[in-house]
Subunit: 217 residues, 2 copies
DNA sequence: TCTTATATCTTTGTATACAATAAATCAACA
DNA sequence: TGTTGATTTATTGTATACAAAGATATAAGA
């Protein structure tokens, strides 16, 4: 894995906690590299908003509840649009991929509820894959480019640990509604279902905001 | 001006033409700097999509009509939303700034049509300032963060050279409608007017696409 | 002449050294 | 003791050197 992803993962997985100060030299020593490649990774993370510049060094960004609201508003807007566009432009190949992602998500949930709690990671991945497939089907390269740059809030990844079986099933239901709307080329239904689905995720994060922040993974 | 903005301006102003290959060494010599700061600027421009990686070096991105359509779709979505949010959340101070930007845009157009054609630059600036003021009033820091990163298409800057007086007046009319909708907190009117306004800009760019591409500024 | 292997040249990626600057420490003085 | 100025230290910004990887040119053999 490259330097950028190494540092990014350390932030997302809570190894580098919010507010923690990072310097080029420290990171370089930790990763046994020179400052040059570290600088490049830091610059990228800065431009993505995951770390904020300090007078000296940088610090891991500490997101507030208001940040979560704003970021989810944005995500709702962009992904709602991409679902609508996917309903409009999807090919048979797109449908195959979306359906496959849907099934894998269902499998992951089934395995999880059968007491294999390690499968939560798989659930996160398969959920992402479903959303990815829809963004691809929307045939707007630039929306894709943008959503991929929407600020990643570390705690969102951890929020899945607080999903009950019931909530996971409801999440799956939404995937189904979205999938069917895209099949039927019902743009507005796709958009609205995607909106509700993303707001469901937002509510989950906001509800457990404080536990998520202190959680060390 | 820093390295990033120097290179960016050279691309926007057509000094580095679409498809042109740039290498770190060349740029370093041209700007009398070492490769290190050049690399940082290039990385940023790459992540913004203004230049694309080559096997060796990078090349200035050549945008297609389809790119223009997709980017404007995105801009419509984001700025339409920000106009609606501005209508909802604007303070008196926001209104003052938006109104002031509106007036300056009107002044710039007036000066321009009185045969001072050099004022086209001012028109571009004042138009941007109006949009900025609305984004600020929308009170979503993250939308702001994003719109500022929406891919800048070089030729959009030049498209103003093809605006007739009538089209400029129509653009101003839209600003007025948007301003009033925000004053009256009419979210949907603000959103729709912003949509139409941005599509007007898109049509202008698409209409003159070929002239704009060969134009050297 | 055409193909393939070798050498050469270009260009990027990484390490390191040094310069510039801001922060922290310490000392001198009121 | 508290305040100011000088000194040291920490950290970033820039330059340069060298290693690694690709591309291009060259030469040898079929």
């Amino acid at each position: 894995m490259d330097v950028y992803n190494t540092i990014r993962n350390n932030i997302i997985q809570g190894k580098y906690q919010p507010g923690m100060r990072l310097t080029e030299e420290n990171l370089a020593q930790e990763l046994s590299l020179s400052r040059t490649p570290i600088r490049e990774a830091i610059n990228q993370l800065k431009s993505e908003g995951l770390i904020v510049p300090l007078k000296r060094g940088v610090s891991v960004r500490d997101f507030s509840k208001e940040d979560i609201r704003q970021i989810y508003d944005l995500r709702t807007l962009l992904e709602g649009y991409s679902a609508a566009q996917a309903a409009l432009h999807r090919t048979e190949e797109d449908l195959l991929k979306i359906r496959s992602a849907y099934n894998l998500y269902e499998d992951a949930i089934d395995t999880y509820v059968k007491n294999d709690f390690s499968h939560i990671i798989k659930i996160v991945e398969m959920n992402q894959q479903f959303h990815e497939a829809i963004i691809n089907a929307s045939k707007n390269e630039h929306i894709h480019f943008h959503i991929s740059k929407v600020v990643v809030v570390p705690i969102v990844f951890r929020s899945f640990y607080w999903y009950s079986e019931e909530k996971l099933r409801r999440s799956l239901d939404y995937h189904k509604i979205i999938l069917e709307a895209i099949i039927n080329q019902d743009t507005e239904r796709a958009r609205i279902a995607m909106h509700e689905h993303i707001f469901q995720g937002r509510d989950q994060v906001l509800l457990h905001f404080h536990e998520l922040k202190t959680m060390k993974e």
